[in-house]
């Protein structure tokens, strides 16, 4: 097994059995569910909204080349500098070049999942830059030295007590379990960071091709401060975030808030149109938009799973996923957790290394049902499984399934296997759940059902319905 799969099995197994963790995540997600329902009902027709959103994204992606060029043209017209990067290395280099050109030392970031994807913080810190995350959850995770647990709720796995301890250790503040006071502690620290920062780095929720604008959705105002106070602003964004028209936001902003956090709209939604224009009194002097491919075009080239690029990173699929709710965010070992992460990570980072995540699903379909942009998530997990086998399945498992097919296609042999199974079951019962038990994967935690003394087939052989015999058997 590859090391990522080993790590997943081990972490997932440990957390699935951690009842405190389970309780915390399940109760947080129950609150999300309760908040989301009424907000969703405010849409005239949520299902119609999903369809429109999916079609809008589909149209945007089908002409991605044209829309991106239009975005660049319109953004450049207002003085924005647009950078095209194919790989993580290129994106990191572009950003480092900008920072070095401005002799920057202090950097403030608002929530940027793409920067997690390209491991930007580690690089910048190793080069001596001071980097601070300004999203409260991300800030807490940075202090803790951990990546985000959930790409929308970065520290949802922590209790107030744990956050208070963390602040006490790192900031020397007094213990408090009041969420408002904890927020105020972070706020006092972060306000100074915005003022001192040379460069602000943000992500983006949408790129509007028609106007060359970037749309950022947030709840804390930290993205606005990150964009407004430093002299230079850098926006790192995946190319799939394109929307053709400004008016598309009329649907996507409430949809993202509803699906993401159960809000009608988030507290702040800002459209950025360029750096400070002549005659304007505020805003960054320079604005760089770094467009990141990083294998998104590989996914675009797959007609079966291309719709995974519709994703607006609302996190709804994680919130309803029974796997996520039991194994938590870190087990995945990916930037993007949950069903969407399991679907796209094999495309972004290699199928053979990450196909185990597509296997770790019951294919229940709760993700697909909830996805606001109608990504066929659970079917794509099946597609990844098929692709994984086609491009390098396990020899042993292949043999097993061929034997299975042979057995199922030979009813007499199948009948014999059932009779043998009945003889073997009492023996198996003696070692059930123990290391010697070949069915231990099941019996360690669950009782095995007993083979019935008479199978349905055996019943059928003697079955005489009230109706004439000649009408009965057609096979």
């Amino acid at each position: 097994m590859n090391p990522h799969a080993v790590q997943f099995q081990s972490d997932a197994g440990r957390l699935a059995a951690d009842l405190t963790h389970r309780q915390r995540i399940q109760s947080a997600m129950a609150k999300y569910g309760a908040a989301r329902g009424p907000r969703q009902a405010l849409f005239r027709d949520w299902q119609e909204g999903r369809q429109t959103a999916a079609e809008t994204k589909w149209a945007g992606l089908n002409q991605l080349d044209e829309h991106l060029v239009a975005f660049e043209k319109n953004a450049t017209a207002r003085g924005t500098q647009v950078h095209w990067t194919s790989t993580s290395e290129q994106a990191r280099q572009v950003i480092v070049d900008i920072l070095q050109r401005h002799r920057a030392q202090r950097i403030v970031k608002s929530k940027v999942m793409t920067s997690e994807e390209i491991h930007l913080n580690q690089l910048l810190e190793s080069l001596g830059f001071q980097v601070v995350e300004s999203d409260l959850g991300e800030y807490i995770q940075q202090l803790k030295g951990e990546p985000p647990y959930h790409f929308v709720f970065p520290c949802m796995h922590l209790s107030r007590e744990e956050i208070s301890d963390l602040f006490e250790n790192h900031l020397g503040t007094a213990q408090t379990h009041d969420p408002e006071e904890l927020t105020m502690i972070a706020r006092r620290v972060l306000r100074q960071k915005y003022i001192e920062a040379d460069v602000g780095i943000t992500g983006a929720n949408f790129l509007v091709a028609e106007t060359g604008m970037v749309s950022i959705t947030e709840n804390e105002g930290n993205a606005r401060l990150t964009a407004a106070l430093p002299r230079v602003m850098i926006t790192l964004v995946g190319i799939e975030k394109i929307l053709p028209r400004l008016s598309d936001l009329a649907l996507f902003l409430p949809m993202l808030a509803t699906a993401g956090t159960g809000q009608p709209l988030t507290c702040y939604n800002t459209m950025y149109g360029g750096p400070r224009q002549p005659g304007e009194v505020d805003g960054p002097e320079e604005w760089h938009v770094v467009l990141l491919d990083n294998n998104r075009t590989t996914l675009l080239a797959d007609p079966e799973q291309r719709d995974a690029l519709h994703c607006i990173r609302c996190g709804a699929c994680l919130n309803v996923c029974p796997i996520f709710k039991n194994v938590g965010g870190f087990s995945y070992g990916t930037t993007y957790q949950g069903p969407i992460g399991s679907v796209i990570t094999p495309h972004l980072r290699g199928l053979q290394d990450w196909k185990h995540l597509s296997g770790a699903s019951t294919l229940c379909g709760a993700c697909t049902e909830t996805c606001p942009v109608k990504i066929d998530l659970h079917h794509h997990l099946l597609h990844n499984r098929r692709n994984g086998v086609q491009q390098g399945g396990s020899r042993g498992e292949g043999l097993l399934w061929r034997a299975f097919a042979f057995l199922m296609n030979h009813p007499r042999l199948y009948g014999l296997a059932v009779r043998l199974g009945r003889l073997a079951q009492p023996l198996q019962n003696m070692i059930a759940g123990e290391a010697l038990d070949p069915l231990q994967a099941w019996t360690k935690t669950r009782e095995l059902p007993e083979l019935a003394p008479q199978s349905f087939r055996e019943f059928w052989k003697n079955h005489r319905p009230a109706l004439p015999q000649d009408q009965r058997r057609s096979s």
Partner: protein, 238 residues
């Protein structure tokens, strides 16, 4: 109507009462029931594991064996979804593509068939117990939804239906998932069992025996008094 039953391997060997109940109910309604004994498995296990050529090997005899059937009724939402929804994808571009489409159009999950094809909800069943219902994911999201099993249970004499919290959340079985990721599977099952037990019901009912096998396995291990039962068994109770 001539109705062909598809009885998957686990109902055949572990839960024959489910199949027998289906036969009793359909014959009581005056239909002719046939059962092609050579068809054992729909091919879902290799299909879900990514071994599609092997899945086609299992599914081909099913396509052939059911080609002449008027309607096919399946007592499991999961196998039903395989035949109704996934065969067309499995055989896309294969010589059997048309046969897969033809089969898809005449496959029905048992409760859906009773309610939406036969137009029956009252089968004269008596089951004086408190029950809670688990929606099997495939039946719920790939097939017919929540309504048919509830419409049928509503007419059962003496039965009290109590909905559990998160009836639509997966039980954690997931076929080979249950043994490939046993810790996650068991945790999901424990959450489900706790929801079901919180209703104080005597039985968890579902239209999918595979979910019930998983839940019963956990309930028995935990020593909970709650029992599982397939919808068809309740509907055949008099």
């Amino acid at each position: 109507m001539k109705i062909t039953l598809f009885i998957p391997c686990f109902i055949d060997t572990l839960y024959p009462r489910v199949g027998i109940s289906m036969v009793q109910i359909l014959e009581k309604l005056g239909h002719v029931v046939t059962f092609p004994e050579a068809l054992v498995c729909c091919g879902q296990p290799p299909f879900n594991s990514g071994y599609w050529p092997e899945a086609r090997q299992v599914a081909r005899p099913v396509l052939q064996g059911l080609a002449d059937a008027e309607v096919v009724v399946i007592g499991s939402g999961s196998c039903g979804a395989m035949m109704k929804v996934f065969y067309t994808e499995l055989f896309a571009g294969e010589p059997e593509e048309a046969a897969a489409r033809a089969l898809s159009a005449k496959c029905y999950e048992f409760s859906d068939f009773l309610v939406n094809q036969l137009g029956v909800t009252d089968l004269g069943a008596v089951f004086p117990h408190k029950v809670t219902i688990h929606d099997g994911c495939h039946g719920l999201r790939e097939m017919n939804g929540k309504a048919p099993p509830r419409a049928l249970l509503k007419q059962v004499r003496g039965l009290e239906l109590v909905e559990m919290a998160e009836a639509e959340t997966c039980c954690g079985f997931g076929g080979t998932f249950a043994t490939k990721f046993p810790a996650i599977s068991s945790a999901m099952g424990e959450v489900k069992c706790a929801s079901a037990a919180a209703t104080d019901a005597d039985f968890v009912v579902s239209n999918d025996s595979s979910c019930l096998m998983h839940l019963q396995g956990l309930l028995s291990r935990e020593g909970r008094p709650l029992k599982t039962i397939h919808l068809a068994e309740i509907l055949a109770s008099v």
